[in-house]
């Protein structure tokens, strides 16, 4: 966490004299770091999921982005968004995995616009992902490429939180124990029809609610949720 904060601090410092040309991104920089002792259900969260081609940000592309916010401890479906990215050079087999057809692609928004919208949604909210390194990597690389922006944002990772919880309970971890649906199952959450960025984001948000409600009294603080990875 401190590393993310430090890097974010550098970035802020760098843009201090000349405001960043993209107001949405500048606002992200201006956003104060969330208070660690704040109870989780008083903070704002944005569950984000990306569908990408491949697993490597250097060669893959973002196909779609979905997000939904958690306010006051419950998921606000009016904040749900699903953006298909208009991209002409899609390769790989991800399209078939994710049921995205060519016709869907052409109706999408272009990547910079999508990133601006995501940045606005993220403002004032802590990012929430299941297995954050992958999504964070893609977002950071896209923001750098499109805007030259170094993105470091307070983030929580449900996979990591769930892993920590299982270790604390000294459970031996079966294969796939940390997959999104396997985690959900442990809380009695219904099986999620995966493979749509928004529905994955929603499934992640629900898992986070379940995790937080099972944390034990009086519930987790923000600092208990944030990931330590950069």
């Amino acid at each position: 966490m401190w590393l993310t904060r430090l890097r974010r601090h550098w970035a802020r410092h760098r843009y201090a004299r000349h405001p960043f040309p993209e107001p949405a991104l500048q606002k992200l920089l201006d956003m104060p770091w969330p208070a660690g002792k704040q109870p989780w259900n008083e903070a704002s969260w944005l569950a984000v999921d990306l569908e990408t081609t491949g697993l490597d940000p250097r060669t893959g592309y973002v196909i779609s982005i979905g997000w939904v916010a958690i306010e006051g401890g419950s998921i606000q479906l009016n904040t749900a968004r699903h953006l298909l990215i208009d991209s002409r050079n899609l390769v790989g087999d991800s399209a078939t995995i994710h049921h995205i057809r060519d016709s869907d692609r052409s109706e999408g928004v272009d990547l910079p616009a999508a990133l601006r919208m995501l940045a606005r949604a993220l403002n004032g909210r802590i990012a929430l992902m299941h297995h954050s390194p992958l999504d964070t990597g893609f977002l950071r690389s896209a923001l750098k490429e499109q805007f030259g922006f170094d993105w470091f944002h307070p983030t929580a990772d449900t996979l990591e939180l769930e892993k920590k919880r299982l270790f604390q309970r000294e459970q031996n971890m079966p294969r796939h124990a940390l997959r999104l649906n396997t985690c959900r199952e442990r809380y009695g959450l219904p099986d999620s029809q995966a493979h749509n960025a928004l529905e994955d984001a929603l499934a992640t948000a629900e898992l986070f609610l379940a995790w937080a409600n099972h944390y034990g009294s009086p519930g987790p603080k923000v600092r208990d949720c944030l990931t330590s990875r950069p």
């Binding site: 979905g66 009695g188 959450l189 749509n196 928004l198 529905e199 409600n213």
Partner: protein, 619 residues
């Protein structure tokens, strides 16, 4: 924050779920998708409570988990599972202090009050669902099943209103002249406007001419005083039942004690050829068992027709019971013709479903005989012969021998009145779980033929003894609790896992019988002499032995389950399958399945209250 992008259509998982949920499935296309974006999702732990203090009011839909709705004093009102929903604000209006307690960790979809109310005001079907949730949902289901049918038409449409009337002091010769002028076969005798008697052609023949009375004899001397009659509100079905039961051909119709019309058997028969009256009539004219079988052969087809015409299940049962009664009566008539008249008064009894007028097809026979105390051993042989003839005849007609041997052919069920008293005393004072189960059927009894007074005496004795004996009541209660409704711990309908009836549940054993038995127990304990289950429930509410609410709920559950059972039998007849009481819930429409779950839940809570009420006596 401004977000210009239009709302995504991809909240498909939420919308799909809602569309499969009552009552969202009645909303027009696009409406579910629209309101999804107004919803919130929350996760709550087992034990979490929603009550009037919960800040956000609106509709809560269980995506997973389960909740119990409890009244202010903790009474369980309802239990909801995945796909079911509750709006606390509405419940609070009916039931102040009501709360919802989660009994499992639950994922809950929340529709804010404003949007919820908007949907209710826009969509009538959506709104109806929430009019007093659940128990009233079932209520509506049973009430709305009634559709017009000729048997349910009020008698006013059929009765003659240009009445031929006379007074008590009119000479019979004058009346005979009036009747032949007006070409009628009966006249009503009035005192002022009040109905005091009836005179028919047959009376003139048998009571005047055959008795060689003078023509000046006043009507009062030969009329049938205080005749059986009906009120205007009665249906054709009521009239036909009364007439067939008492062998009458003329039935006065009365409003506030004033005669307003008269109904004759020919009026009824001309009304419809294919209706049950006609069957009963034809049965009473048959001279042999084989001829009766011919008449009965068409009954399954009639049942189909009645069901299609929307005759409610309790009425169909009523009709089928009337037919069984007619068969029994006719068999007794034929037997008496051969054996000679009965040496002493008797009552031919039916037990169980026939007594309760709740028969359906493939009922077996359960009967008995009460014989007057004055019968000699020689006389008893006459009754033994009668019992065998009637029982064999019933078996030939399709009412197979009772597997438990509850039949008049068995001396255990064929006794003098004093013998019945002894038997009842013995049942109630020394019993074991098996004997309780065997004799519980005998508490539903009715006279089919003979002296009703004998039956009344036995029944009063039974009620007296059972009412005074709380230990016996407790034994009955244990028996009642044996068959539980097929609801699993996740409040799903539990079906049989294997065997011939895989994936089905026995609607009679698991639903109908528990209701019937619970009601019988309560009626016996309260000393209520009604036999029909619906009537017992009504009487229990009237005498305040059961709350009106519980009584209505059980009546609705019973009517609904009877309706489902009738539908199953109708389907089986149509498909040419053997008749059974097994039902595959997956083959029911979603609403019916939900209602079935409601009905079983009502059975479950009724059993719980039996456990509480009669527990003192339980071991």
């Amino acid at each position: 924050m401004t977000e210009t992008q239009s709302l995504p259509p991809e909240l498909a998982s939420v919308a799909d779920f809602l569309r499969q949920t009552l009552p969202f499935n009645v909303l027009p296309e696009g409406e579910v998708e629209r309101i999804v974006h107004h919803m919130e999702i929350g996760y709550f732990r087992n034990g979490h409570v929603f009550n009037e203090k919960t800040r956000e009011q609106g509709l809560r839909i269980l995506r997973s988990g389960a909740v119990e709705i409890r009244s202010q004093d903790g009474e369980l009102l309802d239990r909801l599972a995945e796909g079911e929903s509750f709006a606390l604000s509405g419940l609070l209006q009916q039931e102040p202090g009501v709360r919802a307690v989660l009994i499992e960790d639950s994922l809950i979809y929340f529709l804010p009050q404003e949007d919820y109310q908007q949907l209710r005001s826009h969509y009538r079907n959506f709104d109806r669902f929430f009019h007093g949730q659940r128990s009233r949902r079932l209520f509506r289901a049973t009430r709305s099943m009634v559709s017009p049918d000729s048997m349910l038409v009020p008698i006013t449409s059929l009765m003659a209103t240009d009445l031929v009337t006379t007074t008590t002091q009119t000479p019979v010769c004058e009346l005979a002249g009036l009747m032949s002028n007006r070409r009628v076969s009966s006249a009503l005798v009035l005192d002022g406007e009040r109905l005091v008697g009836i005179v028919t052609d047959r009376d003139l023949r048998t009571r005047v001419l055959a008795a060689r009375l003078p023509p000046e004899t006043p009507v009062a001397d030969i009329m049938t005083p205080d005749p059986q009659h009906l009120t205007e509100k009665a249906t054709i079905f009521d009239a036909t039942l009364l007439m067939t039961r008492h062998g009458m051909h003329h039935l006065p119709v009365v409003r506030d004690e004033k005669a307003v019309g008269i109904l004759t058997t020919s009026d009824l028969i001309s009304a419809r050829q294919d209706d049950p009256v006609y069957i009963v009539q034809r049965l009473t004219r048959q001279e042999s068992v084989s001829a009766m079988k011919g008449v009965l052969r068409d009954i399954p087809q009639f049942l189909l027709r009645w069901n299609d015409a929307g005759v409610p299940a309790d009425q169909v049962s009523h009709i089928l019971t009337a037919i069984s009664d007619a068969v029994t009566n006719r068999l007794i008539d034929i037997a008496v013709r051969d054996l000679g008249p009965a040496p002493v008064p008797y009552a031919w009894l039916c037990f169980g479903s026939q007594a309760r007028a709740e028969q359906l097809l493939n009922a077996d026979q359960d009967n008995g005989l009460i014989i007057s105390n004055e019968a000699t051993d020689e006389d008893m042989k006459w009754f033994e012969a009668l019992a065998h003839r009637v029982s064999d005849g019933l078996n030939d007609c399709g009412y197979v021998y009772c597997p438990g041997n509850v039949m008049a052919t068995n001396p255990f069920w064929r006794r003098r009145l004093s013998g019945w008293y002894e038997a009842v005393d013995h049942w109630v004072s020394s019993f074991n779980p098996n004997s309780v189960m065997e004799i519980s059927i005998a508490f539903d009894l009715r006279t089919v033929n003979g002296e009703d007074e004998l039956t009344h005496q036995v029944q009063s004795h039974m009620l007296e003894r059972v009412q005074a004996n709380s230990i016996f009541q407790a034994a009955l209660a244990e028996n009642v609790l044996e068959a539980t409704p097929p609801i699993g711990i996740f409040r799903r309908l539990v079906v049989e896992r294997n065997g011939d009836h895989k994936d089905t549940l026995n609607i009679k054993k698991r639903g109908l019988l528990p209701i019937i038995e619970i009601t019988r127990l309560n009626a016996l304990a309260a000393g209520i002499d009604r036999i029909n289950t619906l009537e017992r429930l009504q009487e229990l509410a009237r005498s305040k032995r059961m709350t009106r609410y519980d009584s209505r709920n059980l009546q609705d559950a019973l009517r609904f389950l009877m309706q489902v059972r009738l539908q199953i039998q109708a389907d089986q007849i149509r498909e040419g399958e053997p008749l059974s009481n097994h039902c595959n819930p997956q083959k029911l429409p979603k609403l019916a399945r939900e209602q079935m779950r409601d009905a079983f839940q009502l059975v479950d809570s009724a059993q719980k209250s039996v456990r509480l009420t009669y527990r003192q006596g339980m071991r």
